[in-house]
Symmetry: C2
Subunit: 309 residues, 2 copies
């Protein structure tokens, strides 16, 4: 699956991923109204609204983007109905040949991480039968706080299914440094985590990059530069571009000399583009056309500033 | 909710929590057979089997135990059907007046942690309506790797609903030391996390303990001793007793002089008790009676060795 991701990024010259984090406040009123009319102002209504919203964005951007990254929390908050909308979104994106990175940030002790891995990127056994993972993303994000025990079960499962993971190394949020930047023998914790990611990745290599990727926030480019060197064969998923403050000119250090090695995420900046002044002329009715234009602008911004064109 | 948990622990003289981590291999064959007959060897069949298994264990132990801790991964692996069984288990335990600690180990950037918090321990807004959290546990476990940003949204939501969290500090698994034990200015990372937990906890205090608890594995008693001092008002959830190797005689440091401050989890040791030689005479048909006896023995073991009786 890492090979497919790399191929798609090369073919589209688009090292971008659209974050499908559909907070209800981003969903245009006409969609909410229609969903609430049919299902009431219920969890089911909310779930249906975000699914319709996602579907239209996928339809209008699928020829431009290699991947989407649905954030499961935005679905989980609406319970079972919300998670059903997550599954529908994953399946629909895959039907459009888009790689799906499930942003689930799971991680636990070994036997428990195995269960998460099986349910998201593996195969599930029930009695004498076995099934594709019920969530069935192509990649998932994993939290490393529990160490190798908590990550290896994901790698093991991915080896069987040809899927992959992105391990949190240095996150994009303001307080990420509180623990991640703490110095151990003069070097920050995230560097140690980065070294482990490179090590875990050696066990599951694709053609030129590993199936084990890393998450490094766009908001910390100096750290991105160091981590790029520590993890040369690791694809870096870069959140924090756009709405969170990361600029395209800061993204160059995340890429390798082959022009690959990083994929930049934007969520709000794309899915809620119609709420920005720049794209306001599309109007809420044409929110997905605004998203399409925002994707085109994002690809242009990144490829120009990073020197990929 | 921390006050209710403390009251129940005192009343029952039972600082224990039963981990409802129902791997299918723990579910007796007669239950699996019945569920598969009705629903097939499907995800629904698996979900129904673990729900029936849980229900019988809850019925047979609810008068002895203050709390249960369902591990959501064991349900999530069976997809939507599995998560519906999780919700049924949470609701059923609460109907029996048992405190429910959802072992979900979520944690993300601020806006995303808010969504998890709302969906598990908060209230969800849809249009003009608002609903109880769809998962609605009394407590949840939280991963601290993202720092204050990722934890505070849970605390804020819990302040509104009177619920609480347990933050991972030092986990029970063998590789937990890989990052958690790394020395920062001579002190391990888990101590820094412990200090933060104490600080976060000051913002949401119950009568004698905080609504913000900590997870510290039974497998590391020396560290438990240090952490007890760093977090005097923090309830410590202690996994790793029994099947993972933690012994009752090592648990004393986790408790305060008031005989409170810690609650010890056992999962396999209780729910799969009937598979142990010690309880084999109950037979698989009476697995829940074996669980009841294992709970009685666990309470006796802990209260005797810790000096609570």
């Amino acid at each position: 699956m890492i090979n497919k991701l790399v191929d798609k990024i090369k073919k589209l010259n688009a090292p971008v991923v659209v974050g499908l984090d559909p907070m209800l406040k981003y969903v245009p009123e006409h969609i909410q109204k229609k969903a609430f009319k049919e299902f009431g102002e219920t969890l089911e209504g909310a779930a249906e609204a975000i699914w319709w919203f996602n579907k239209e964005i996928i339809d209008k951007t699928c020829d431009l983007i290699p991947a989407v990254k649905p954030q499961i929390a935005m679905y989980e908050q609406f319970g079972i109905a919300g998670l059903a909308a997550f599954v529908k979104t994953v399946d629909y994106a895959k039907s459009k040949d888009i790689v799906v990175i499930g942003d689930i940030k799971r991680g636990d002790i070994g036997s428990t991480s195995s269960a998460y891995a099986v349910g998201h990127v593996g195969r599930v056994s029930v009695g004498s039968k076995s099934y594709d993972a019920p969530f069935d993303e192509d990649f998932v994000t994993v939290n490393p706080y529990l160490g190798t025990d908590g990550v290896k079960p994901f790698v093991d499962v991915c080896k069987e299914t040809g899927k992959g993971i992105f391990v949190l190394v240095k996150t994009s949020n303001p307080s990420s440094g509180e623990f991640q930047d703490q110095k151990i023998d003069g070097r920050p914790l995230y560097e140690l985590v980065g070294e482990k990611v490179a090590e875990w990745g050696e066990a599951h290599m694709g053609d030129s990059y590993s199936y084990v990727g890393a998450v490094v926030g766009a908001t910390y480019p100096e750290m991105g530069k160091v981590l790029r060197k520590i993890m040369p064969k690791t694809y870096i998923l870069v959140p924090g571009y756009g709405a969170q403050g990361g600029k395209a000119k800061d993204l160059a250090p995340y890429f390798n000399e082959d022009g690959l090695g990083a994929i930049v995420n934007s969520s709000r900046g794309i899915i809620a583009a119609y709420t920005q002044e720049k794209y306001a002329s599309f109007g809420a009715e044409h929110f997905a056309d605004a998203s399409r234009q925002a994707v085109i602008d994002m690809i242009e911004d990144i490829t120009t500033n990073v020197g990929l064109k």
